[in-house]
Amino acid sequence: MAGISRLIQAPEYEIKILIISDIFQSAESCRGRISREYQDLSAVVYLDKEDMKAWSIKDGMNVTLFNENGKIVVTGRSSKEEHRGIGLMPPSIYSMRLASFDETSGAIPLMVDARIRRGDGEVTGIRELCKKI
């Protein structure tokens, strides 16, 4: 059964996730980081329009991002800027599921390699995500 579901799963693509500041998310975070508004601005990946076309991802569609650090479902949004192969995510509990820690330098790299595919569930709420540790 697992084999069949694997076969019908949406195709995966390589993507680099760049963690960037977003004024709208940052402004909302001043009120707290638990609200639905903050969640909607955080559980998001901004994608290049051409990438979205090539990967058959529509604006507002849920996507799954994953790498060796973790897996997360977020909303895919069309970016106004061109950045082929790069997905932009604001810093939050969502993007941190994919982030890594460089033990040698003590740094948290702003860019990580990941894979993306369409769909695969709903966005997990922040409170629920905290419990899922």
Binding site: I23, I34, A99, A107, I126, C130
Partner: protein, 387 residues
């Protein structure tokens, strides 16, 4: 009846001191001059009352019983609270760390110890010919930076403003909101910042340019008497934390004019924490993140920070294995998992104190309204006394 006061905003490291706040019936009704982030902060509602005495007693108990506690965060709190936190770390003989070295490597220590030339934002407004936003996105993180200091304002020696007197360029791996506002945008591939520095200094010394954009940028550097690099975490990552390369580049630029660097720090008082540690003759000993990963901490006092949203999952999940006390005005994922949460007021809104702008200039944060919510300083002072 309404009253209007002028306040200083702790929304980011610009510490804008021209915020107009209208107060009516002990509540903030309107906020003028602030950016989206600042306005959001001032219009934040108060927290419901809680038993502060019991919370402080519990915090003291947790810290007393811990074998290897640590203090973390502190970039979004006042200088006064930072000083008390440093004293608590001395009392407990424990590690204390903020995000400065995690995000910016040694940059802030180099700036504070004058190993890298720096200036104030007032100097920038009055004198800067060229502003270089390298790996930093002011429009998203310090939204009024360009309008108050670095690009748009008329300054003492810059009366013609951005139209004729100033040149601003963004160097980044993508066209950020700041890049859209600046006159030029130079795209750099990830990790290619050292090569770009080599190329720029090469062109300045007469080597042929690789592109028209680089030639134009190099000509602007040659023309400038006063230039500033606004260095963000993107630059530090791009350099793979190689500060020698940055110092070498700054020295190279200074052969053509006066060039300075200002770190575009994110926490409103990160600069203050680095300065306070220096004044207390303390250095960051060890790494909070490594200790967390290795199980070297059994309790953490987290002040004005949300590591659950700022640290990779491999690290943040370790917070559940230890006792955590969080002192913060907001509800965050870290307050969700904490053993003890002490909600405090926002400096400059509910409580007073002082903070250091990104350029090291100190500002007083005067509260605009009277609320009963305690300050970080008051809570930390009582914890110190209890210890």
């Amino acid at each position: 009846m309404s009253t209007q006061v002028t306040a200083t905003c702790p929304g980011c490291s610009c510490l804008c001191d021209d915020i107009e706040v209208v107060i009516e019936e002990s509540e903030i009704r309107e906020v003028g001059n602030a950016c989206r982030k600042g306005a959001s902060l001032f219009l934040n509602p108060d927290h419901p009352a809680y038993d502060l005495d019991a919370a402080i007693d519990e915090a003291i108990e947790i810290l007393k019983n811990a074998k290897s506690p640590a203090i973390f965060g502190l970039d979004n709190t006042t200088i006064e609270a930072q000083r008390i936190a440093i004293k608590i770390s001395e009392k407990l003989g424990c590690m204390i760390e903020d995000y400065s070295s995690i995000r910016y490597g040694d940059l802030l220590n180099f700036v504070v110890s004058s190993r890298i030339k720096t200036c104030t934002l007032d100097d920038v407004r009055d004198r800067a010919d060229i502003s270089i936003f390298w790996g930093s996105d002011a429009m998203s993180s310090q939204p009024r930076h360009l309008s108050r200091f670095s690009y748009f304002p008329r300054g003492e020696h810059k009366q013609k403003g951005w139209e004729f007197d100033r040149y601003a360029i963004s160097i980044d791996i993508y066209r950020s909101p700041t890049a859209k506002v600046c006159r030029e945008f130079l795209k750099v591939s990830p990790g290619q910042d050292p090569a770009l520095m080599d190329e720029i200094l090469g062109i300045l010394s007469g080597k042929p340019p690789g592109s028209k954009e680089l030639l134009k940028f190099s000509n602007e550097i040659k023309k400038a008497d006063f230039g500033v690099i606004f260095a963000g975490s993107g630059l530090i990552h791009g350099l793979n934390r190689d500060m020698d390369k940055l110092i070498w580049f700054m020295e190279g630029l200074n052969e053509y004019g006066e060039f300075y660097l200002i770190p575009m720090v994110k926490g409103y008082n990160m600069r203050g924490f680095v300065e306070m540690m220096k004044r207390a003759q303390r250095q960051i000993e060890g790494s909070f993140l490594r200790a967390l990963l290795d199980g070297g901490i059994d309790a953490a006092l987290i002040v004005g920070a949300d590591p659950m949203s700022d640290l990779p999952y491999s690290l943040s999940k370790k917070l559940l294995d230890i006792q955590t006390i969080v002192i913060d005005p907001r509800d965050t994922p870290t307050t969700e998992i904490a053993d003890l949460v002490i909600h405090t007021g926002i400096a400059g809104v509910d409580n007073g104190g002082s903070a250091m702008r990104m350029d090291g200039v100190e500002f007083e944060l005067v509260p605009c309204i009277k609320r009963d919510t305690p300050s970080d300083e008051a809570v930390l002072t009582r914890i110190l006394e209890g210890l």
